[in-house]
């Protein structure tokens, strides 16, 4: 670049002018191109922004729908479990109300153990369905007023396994299987169907065995008086370490002493299963 133009010939000056004219034209074109590119990039950004908002809206809509569907499936599950539980009671007049009371006692024990909501849901399902296998036991045995003979008793003892088989095919209900299969196992290993002993028995089975037996004992009486409840609780204590898990039997005694067992069995107080 030449700063001092005074010494230049006319031809040299004209060359300088031509050079700078071309140079500024090129600069102008480049500048135009850059502006055009920026405009295009801006409009692409605008399109992408609109597109992302559309994605967010769809995602939100789908999320709301999914939540609604989940709630529907959950209430359907609760209704199904209730209907299945009722179907047993409808066939077996001796156990009317039994399932419901066992579930209330078992859930009170689980609550004392500090179980979370998910574990409580499974516990609710398991305790309501624990006798579901009785669907496979003939009416003549289920409704027989007197003692069952050996053969009849053998058939009756199949109900935990039948129940487990029924639930096995339903993925939403299968977490309840330990409750169903193990509620007639005994701490000393003399229970059924597998003769498991001690902590080999799923905890669900050890809890349910106590709730189930306690209610069976109190149901033998015409009225569920406090005396009847006290006697049944004493029997649970007496059978700790033989029929029942001693820790779970202690836990039961705790909530019994606190009056929780009597409270959950008192239907007038309108304890709801889901509120326990």
């Amino acid at each position: 670049m030449i700063d001092d133009l005074s010494g230049l010939t006319r031809t040299e000056l004209e060359a300088q002018v031509r050079f700078w004219r071309e140079q500024s034209l090129l600069l102008g074109m480049d500048f135009g191109q850059v502006r055009q590119q920026l405009r295009e990039q801006g409009s692409e950004l605008e399109i992408m922004r609109a597109q992302l908002i559309s994605y967010a809206e769809d995602l939100n809509r789908e999320y709301q729908l999914e939540r609604q569907r989940t709630q529907e499936v959950e209430s359907l599950l609760v209704a199904t479990v209730g209907a299945l539980a009722n179907s047993i009671e409808a066939r077996d007049p001796y156990t009317r109300g039994h399932t419901d009371r066992v579930a209330r006692i078992a859930l009170a024990m689980c609550a004392r153990l500090g179980w979370d909501e998910k574990e409580m849901q499974v516990a609710r399902m398991g305790s309501l369905l624990h006798d579901i296998g009785k669907i496979g036991v003939p009416d003549a045995i289920l409704r027989k007023p007197g003692r069952l003979d050996t053969e009849e008793y053998a058939l009756m003892k199949k109900h935990p396994e039948i129940g487990a088989q029924i639930l096995h095919g339903i993925s939403a209900l299968s977490p309840a299987i330990p409750w169903v299969i193990a509620h007639h196992e005994r701490w000393d290993g003399r229970g059924y169907p597998h003769g498991l002993a001690g902590e080999e028995i799923p905890q669900a089975g050890r809890i349910l065995a106590i709730a189930d037996s306690f209610d069976a004992m109190t149901s033998r009486r015409a009225y569920r008086t406090q005396v009847a409840l006290d006697e049944a609780a004493a029997e649970v204590r007496a059978c700790a370490g033989t029929q029942f898990d001693p820790h779970m039997a202690d836990l039961f005694q705790e909530i019994f002493a606190d009056g929780i067992v009597a409270a959950v069995l008192d239907l007038d107080q309108r304890w709801h299963l889901h509120a326990i």
Binding site: I47, M48, Q51, S54, D58
Partner: protein, 124 residues
């Protein structure tokens, strides 16, 4: 059987978004950034569905669509044409013979539904 979907859009960001939206073990996604490349990939892969942006460089989306529909080998292949403008898009779609018209920004769930419908109505 895996279905092949050919996507042609010059915006890499939008192709990535489309690819993420349509990701499915049942689909194989092929991407093109321009019209010439789209036609070459169609020849090579014989896709079951083509999604074309109207403004791809080289041969434009409308022309690519017309060529796909005109060729006996691919005249039955469903084509989705994406345009910027709803009203202008309609006439372009008619002109190009596309099966479905989608305006940008599109609803991703709407697009998934359309893709599903077009691929299942092919009858296999």
């Amino acid at each position: 059987m895996t279905k092949k979907i050919l996507i042609a859009d010059d915006s890499e960001a939008l192709r990535t978004l489309l690819h993420a939206t349509l990701r499915d073990p049942r689909y194989e996604i092929i991407q093109a950034s321009g019209g010439v490349q789209a036609l070459a990939l169609r020849e090579m892969h014989k896709p079951d569905l083509v999604i074309l942006d109207e403004t791809i460089p080289g041969i434009g989306g409308v022309e690519v669509c017309r060529m796909i529909k005109r060729s006996p080998a691919s005249s039955n292949t469903p084509v989705i044409l994406m345009t910027q403008n709803e009203a202008a898009g309609q006439s372009l779609v008619q002109e190009a013979g596309a099966d479905v018209h989608i305006t940008k920004p599109f609803s991703p769930l709407g697009l998934l539904g359309t893709v599903e419908r077009l691929l299942s109505s092919k009858g296999d």
